[in-house]
Symmetry: C2
Subunit: 406 residues, 2 copies
């Protein structure tokens, strides 16, 4: 019944994940896949993993021009280089497995067009949530229009940091350092802690959840780097944890919204218990209610095992069909929705800068000022520069699906 072939892989990038893929392919005795050549920027850089002589090259052509290579695995930590590699490969009809979420989130429409035009495939399940098969399940299993919401903790390193701060009483700086030492944080930590990593994953997820691509610029994104002791105290007093949460939500039958923001999470929610470097995603739909998927979202080996799943899928010529992009009555993206937020500030005069439809709570003390109010998401986007001020911290207080628990 199986129609299988041996995959000969050209690998771009040999960092943590690339070396993880090398290791995972050696453990998986039935993979029928082998790495033929590895292209790196610097051949002579010392690496923990020893590979046979001649395996490494710094010339991309050694991979593109090798007629034996029938799959390219792209794990390069530079979005521009990554796009060049992937688009070259697809243009030559070579299928690609990629883990470069920033590049994919930025170029997805072009990459879909390239796949179509050259009748080839790009898989990137590893790009979202490390080892959790979110993309594949949204594409294949939730292949219907019953989906209402995808919401979760998509960034392992910011979650690790918040976990250290919240559950272990560490300070923010030392938690960040520890995340970097453990290899959870990207080389540029702002990518993780300012919410961009989660944003890019959310953009990719939304294409496979609702068939809509929304550019990064149009999405409200705020991270955790301005978090302060008083925010942590506030959350603790209310018996909540602060987590960095990304979500896409159908707000009406024909509209959806999406954003990335810290959230004050109640203990009854599934994501409350997602600690350390783990990721967790809640998928909610009509009829099936809520599903929760949970797994390691950061680290070389979990991501490598996800790359392996994409590699194995190519043995059977699997590709994403982007079915939901062809749906009739696809919902449209809106930012004209009310969100409830906690905003802590000091010098920045928040109540004068933002229009709240309702103010639920306000505290003004010399050391700690905050406001809890309902505000239109488009108002937050129009005034997003406010949240660059280091004295301002915003967190979402969820009001969608409030009637249902979790």
């Amino acid at each position: 019944m199986t129609d299988t072939k041996t995959l000969k892989i050209g690998l771009f990038g040999f960092g943590t994940v690339g070396q993880g893929v090398w290791k995972v392919l050696r453990s998986a005795r039935n993979a029928h896949a082998e790495i033929r050549r590895i292209c790196v920027r610097n051949i002579s850089k010392p690496r923990a993993t020893v590979v046979p002589d001649g395996m490494l090259t710094d010339r991309a052509e050694d991979i593109f021009d090798d007629p034996e290579i029938n799959l390219i695995v792209e794990l390069v930590d530079d979005a521009d280089a990554s796009f060049r590699i992937v688009s070259t490969a697809l243009s030559r009809g070579i299928p690609v497995v990629s883990g470069s979420k920033a590049m994919i989130a930025r170029h997805l429409p072009e990459l879909i067009e390239l796949q179509r035009k050259h009748d080839t495939a790009l898989l990137y399940d590893a790009s979202s949530c490390g080892s959790i098969p979110v993309i594949r399940n949204l594409e294949e299993y939730y292949d219907n229009d019953l989906l209402l919401e995808v919401k979760g903790i998509l960034n392992g390193s910011s979650n690790y940091i918040l976990s250290r701060v919240f559950d272990h009483g560490e300070d923010y700086e030392s938690a960040l350092r520890r995340a970097q030492e453990l290899g959870f944080a990207e080389s540029d930590p702002s990518f993780d802690i300012d919410g961009f990593d989660a944003l890019f994953k959310l953009i990719i997820i939304t294409v496979h959840a609702l068939g809509r691509f929304v550019p990064a610029e149009e999405i409200f994104t705020c991270g955790i780097s301005h978090i302060d002791d008083c925010d942590i105290r506030y959350a603790r007093e209310k018996n909540r944890k602060i987590k960095l949460v990304a979500q896409v939500v159908k707000t009406e039958p024909d509209a959806f919204t999406m954003f990335v923001m810290p959230e004050l999470v109640e203990p009854s929610r599934y994501i409350y218990s997602v600690d350390d470097e783990y990721n967790g995603v809640v998928i909610r739909g009509e009829c099936y209610d809520r599903q929760f998927m949970f797994g390691k979202g950061a680290g070389g080996l979990p991501t490598a095992s996800s790359i392996l799943s994409d590699i194995m899928a190519r043995r059977h010529d699997y590709r994403y069909e982007y079915k939901k992009m062809e749906y009739v009555n696809r919902p449209h993206y809106t930012t004209d929705v009310t969100v409830r937020v906690y905003i802590r500030y000091n010098r920045t005069p928040i109540p004068q800068l933002l229009i709240f439809s309702t103010i639920h709570e306000q505290l003004l003390t010399p050391g700690h000022k905050y406001i809890i109010g309902d505000v239109n998401l488009s108002e937050l986007i129009a005034n997003r520069d406010i949240f660059n001020a280091p004295d301002v911290f915003i967190a979402n207080i969820p009001i969608f699906f409030r009637d249902k628990d979790n």
Copy 2:
């Protein structure tokens, strides 16, 4: 990119799940699938769902002989009838989506052979864990030999009952009655509470997890119907919950074991928090460590939404490839493994009937006798009749993967 077709469905069975499928297909505007005919045993039986005149029939031929019908959905609550319908359909080359776990678990090797011979497909993701896509993910995403363990709460109604007893202080009988009223329990409740439902799901899962089919008779299976107040008190004292757990575990690189048994679950475990009618499955592997999937495992609509996923997969001619059955070095099934168990008894002289390699704890009071000891699984299987005695209750105390938390 999409190569789609309209599915014309012949539906067998119009109970809770069948009517759920009817409803779900109406909500899913982009399903491109319609029910053409419904075959039931008794046309004139009153039903909550009204269907157009002529939609119902009691003649299977009206479906088999309709050349327009290109998919059969089989939801019949009788394993023999279900096998006749599915094997007839496959023999005629008509693909089938089925939710009949008992039938599938019993006949899977024949059903695989029928699919092969007639080049057609049988999908049954709904048969395991209601709305959680376990089979599909084991088959496609965990398509490698890194898998170490699949363990979980696979039966929603026994979990609902234990949840009522444990978390709400209800007595067993009234909890069972309530589960039946809510439509969680099968028509024959022993199917749920004696562990057979979980067993059948486990058998199906094992085929897709490790590529091995193990007949039901060879697997130790014990349910919750003998649970007693003193077991509940014991578990509470030890800060544990009793859950009905099914598991398949690689015990060595080339061997695995499997069983269904109540378990004394510690709070740190993922499955500890799986309450009410929910199911939860932990998938553990080399490299990716643990993944946890969680969702509604019982009830008409969650199961129907899973049937819908299988129906949609047929639009793209998806089939299970049973890839792992072709793996080299497939692990073999063994029952020669040590398990640690709590056995509570009264008249039945457990210490004289079973050989324990180690006894860890023993209590002998007039009202409450129990023993905690290590015993070979094959010893339990050889003496399985013991556990039919109403004064005996057995629960597993997990020792596999003890070094790792959760």
